[in-house]
Subunit: 141 residues, 6 copies
């Protein structure tokens, strides 16, 4: 059996989807209303999956308080009530699609949690749209 | 018995809470992270309550398709993927708190639906924060 | 203070919205796809509100097990996995809109619960559409 | 129009429903499995409704941060991960039904929020069971 | 890392579970109330998972608008407010269990989306019952 | 394609996280408020995943009524409104963390369902905390 413990957190942020290498018409075609110049935003829901052996002394894979702290310190405190295009260092060089945001979050949390325990990150942009980043078996990231 | 039919809709928008008559310190004190200058945003959920007699020929208070059209035309098409401080005419002169946004939505929908049928508007800014605007009994708005 | 205890239940049923006094075109205009002749269906969520004094010996307005039994016996066992147009006696003479279904449920439960304790019935047809039937103050139903 | 701002919070607690003036058989009859002697528990969801005029300078009825603080200090910090029958002072003399718990929470929050602004407290014990305490019009509590 | 983008949609449909090769007693034994002859129905929730590389120009696996269009054109417009036993071509030769409905939806969407990007289809019949169809690794469907 | 049918159920239980081999300070450090001596509790949500071939006569992987019965008989009737540390035989020798509870549930259900059909158990302790136990490919449990 494989055991995974999962912690959910939320943050609200502004963003705009826009590729400076595209002209205005192409941006509108690809990103639609998401490219509106004055920014809009979302309530993001983030789910962090940590997979590993259960410690027999604590009955835990990893303490949920520790997972919560890492999420708070590395992601929520940097992204909540911020503009992803302007205010968030780890998104400054990339289009803030849910795919890219989830991928960067995976990279940051994977470094902090360490030893390959992070198995998946799920990010909801809305009730109907979400992205999952999953570690491939038998490999790094 | 009183019969109320309720329609739910969603839209995502950016905003910033800020009173130009307050100095920076006062804005931060009152609005906290909501006053961050580069905007953030939310997935808003809007609920529109229409109260009235049930038509015996249709079995309806008001056709849900008609309520949906009014919400779409008057609110969602104007606010979705927009910045409430900059892009939305009916919010241009007021701080975009959930209270003020819900109140303006009530006023607009009340005019369009007419004959005092609109009884309540509920607006969620997040799972944990929402505002309800209710028509007072025996009066106008 | 007024105390209300609320019980939620669910049932799934088929229906078709159709007024035999309307011609086909008028039915389609009023009821749209809901008038499709071969029936469709919904997962209904029912919420029953009982308002009254709290018994000092039990700390309850009314025992939730009793409310659950009434809902089960009078509504769920008669409507669940049934066709509202054909199989459900209390809907046989009326168009099965959510308004009419909620109203009939209010009438049935009000008789069974008695002494005017039933204060509201809420019925969801879908996440975005629901109806509330509320007892008017100072009157019967 | 009447404006209400609503804040949601959660806490998890243990309890047992039991009236020492009832014998064992009567306790089982009234409270069922809820009277099991070794305690069980729930994830409670609490909703606090504050109704009043909107301040034109802030666009708020009452600052959500202030409502959150009162809920945290007066309710969550005293009830979360506690046993309602043993550990929580404001429940020590009463059967911890959802009705009684919601009523005591209303009383505590009403004193702290003051000036009659608290209009309703809603308390979920589970997805299917909840209680609402509403201030009666034109009166105190 | 593997990136999956997920789109959710809903539709309401009627159905009846019934195998003409079973006699009435066997149908009742296997399908219970789901075999009631006059049909009942559900609000189905459909989730479509698309897994593939992220395009560096758009920051997307596949444009959510395109996924939404395929779901709308191929599934929702054909199944919503329809009877799965009678009105829906792609279900005409098979018992409309959630397993079979989800499997047919997987087959249709897999052809339309192409190049093996569709990785999973999830279909809820109710809050408590759902089916997942997952592409096996290293193979076709 | 791989087909999985999933059934959800709920139960409410009390517990306390505590390792008798740790001293009081260590218990508090590891388990925090979860180690409070008088117990607290949760509304647990349990999801049971059964993966296998679809029977062509029934259109089912396994009858949901049978899965529901097993969950009810083996888990809910033994854990609901009980104290996991005191009343539940299958948890009597282990710290009742969500990891351990989910793992024991997997073991019990796997024996009852048989032939390796049980593929996953998911257990929510709260909206934000859950555990998944997944069968490893190509092996037993």
């Amino acid at each position: 059996m494989k055991t995974t413990v999962i912690k959910r957190a939320t943050f609200s942020a502004g963003h705009r989807l826009f590729n400076p290498r595209f002209d205005e018409k192409k941006n509108l075609e690809v990103f639609g209303a998401c490219s509106n110049p004055n920014y809009h935003g979302h309530n993001y829901i983030l789910e962090v999956h940590v997979t590993g052996p259960v410690d027999s002394q604590t009955g835990m894979v990893m303490n949920l308080k520790a997972i919560k702290s890492v999420i708070e310190d590395e992601i929520v405190s940097k992204g909540d009530h911020r503009n992803l295009n302007i205010d968030v260092d780890f998104m400054s060089d990339i289009i803030p699609t849910t795919e890219n945001l989830a991928s960067r979050i995976f990279g940051i949390l994977d470094q902090k949690i360490g030893t390959g325990l992070l198995s998946k990150v799920v990010l909801w942009e809305s009730d109907n749209n979400r992205v999952e980043i999953t570690r491939e078996k038998g490999g790094g990231i």
